[in-house]
Amino acid sequence: MKTENQKAWFFVLPVLLLVAFNALIPMMTVVNYSVQETFGDNVFFWQGLDWFQQILRSDRFHAALGRQFMFTFLILIIEVPLGIAIALSMPRQGFWVPVCLVLMALPMLIPWNVVGAMWNIFTLPDIGLLGYFLNHTLGLNYDMTQDPVAAWVTIVTMDVWHWTSLVVLLSYAGLVSIPDAYYQAAKIDGASNWSVFRYIQLPKMKTVLTIAILLRFMDSFNIYTEPFVLTGGGPGNSTTLLSIDLVKIALGQFDLGPAAAMSLIYFAITLLVSWLFYTLMTKDDQN
């Protein structure tokens, strides 16, 4: 049991100060911008909630938000089952386990813009390995700079390549924590593979899967660098995800007010969905 001790605050204080310095001050700056209009030269005018109303009604924002949800939905629905399946088929012990884990973790350790650049040269129609294979060996007409569908397939494949291993590592960690006795008991009872999965493995993986899904949600919802380097948001606006659009407005057009309002709405949506995930997935534990 934990003991009550208010002095514990002193232990938390350094963390609190450092994170607050990085989180609260920039956040206040964003809030400050979001209610003002500027024409440069540090002259600001009070704007109230106009930017928020404008953003919430704007078709451009709705479209980017729609694409963002689409992207996150697609990668979750592919990466989570795929990651679980791979974790289930991995050996539990032996020489190959660390080899597999190291190789699988490799994509996660590559700087994000290198990931984008790498997939860019990998998919170039005439000189990239994948692009050449699709166009010249399979005879498809694949060019992601022209075809929005190809661009979408490419960014989703890239993310699956990049992050499925996170789900694999976490599920695998949950799996190896199951004692052998559980499997033996299931064998004696004549349980099918499915019921072993459903009643032994899945419940044991629940905690780690919650973390995996939460992390994948947060990171994919905030994704910027990889798709930006890969497609630049194109062709047209077809792969302009929320944060790409945000950077376009903030740094490209230098519309600080609307960009700040959009940031806050964006953050609020991420927070809300994460909280929903968190509550739904930990609901059973409370009882």
Binding site: T3, V12, V15, N22, L103, V114, I121, L129, L251
Partner: protein
């Protein structure tokens, strides 16, 4: 058993293909790359690597990146250790709220904060220093380190603390000489994840630096655009960015799967 191992093998092949392509390209001349498709380098060259290792504007990029990543890892783990101890051992006013608030900082899109970060770090005079990037990366690494370490500490029985106090250990001595060694694996895993997320992040690192502390990943984008498109050079630089991560992961290979598994939700 044999049939089952097909799945991980196919998956690993899929992971390795783009990496192979990057490495293969780094040994080609840019002319060969642009002139057409070849599965293996035809005119094998190490010229691309020579350029990177002899040109200061290239290799300083690596040094800068490694510097701020290391500073960040040390700061994150050092301040996260006592905090994680507090969360795992004590109840205090607002502990649950504080824990969730820490985690919400991982949810803030870096794109949102780029401009305010630039202003903040310019205002405190740290712009274009390694420390600025290291401190900025604390935003998402400290919560993660606290989360991981708290999980590992939770599995250390409380009797350990109590026995040590009975034996006359002071708190700092107990913490440094008994407690931290008993969660070595956790410290390793937390350091690994801090290293990883600081190493791969670019948006903030690029925003907060200009020349003196410019990360390698930013050097790559700059050089690529000014010299046309030096694909071979770009590929060599990209290949070199994989190596530090690969070295670090080798050291924690036996613990990595445990890293998050022990964290609480």
């Amino acid at each position: 058993m044999q049939k089952r191992s097909i799945v991980p093998i196919v998956y690993i092949l899929f992971l390795m293909l783009p990496i192979y392509w990057l490495v293969a390209m780094s040994f080609k001349t840019t002319n060969e790359i642009l002139s057409g498709f070849s599965l293996f380098p035809q005119t094998f060259t190490t010229e691309n690597y020579r350029v990177i290792f002899t040109d200061p504007s290239w290799y300083w990029g690596y040094i800068n990146s490694i510097l701020y990543v290391s500073i960040n890892t040390v700061i994150s783990v050092a301040v996260a250790l006592p905090a994680a101890y507090a969360f795992s051992r004590y109840r205090f006013l607002g502990d649950k709220q504080l824990f969730f608030w820490l985690l919400t900082n991982r949810m803030a899109p870096a794109a949102v904060f780029a401009l305010p970060f630039f202003q903040l770090y310019s205002a405190v005079g740290l712009f274009d220093t390694h420390l600025a990037v290291a401190l900025a990366h604390c935003l998402f690494n400290i919560p993660l380190a606290v989360w991981i370490l708290e999980g590992f500490m939770g599995s250390v029985p409380k009797e350990l603390d109590e026995t040590a106090y009975v034996d006359g250990y002071s708190f700092p001595r107990f913490f440094a000489s008994i407690f931290i060694p008993s969660i070595k694996a956790g410290v390793g895993v937390a350091a690994f994840f801090c290293f990883m997320f600081s190493w791969v992040e670019l948006l903030l690192a690029k925003t907060l630096t200009a020349v003196a502390a410019k990360p390698i990943a930013a050097t790559m984008t700059k050089t690529a655009s000014s010299a046309g498109y030096e694909l071979g050079l770009l590929a060599a630089a990209g290949t070199l960015t994989i190596i530090p991560g690969a070295i670090v992961i080798y050291f924690v290979r036996n613990y990595i799967a445990k890293g998050f598994a022990m964290g609480r939700v």
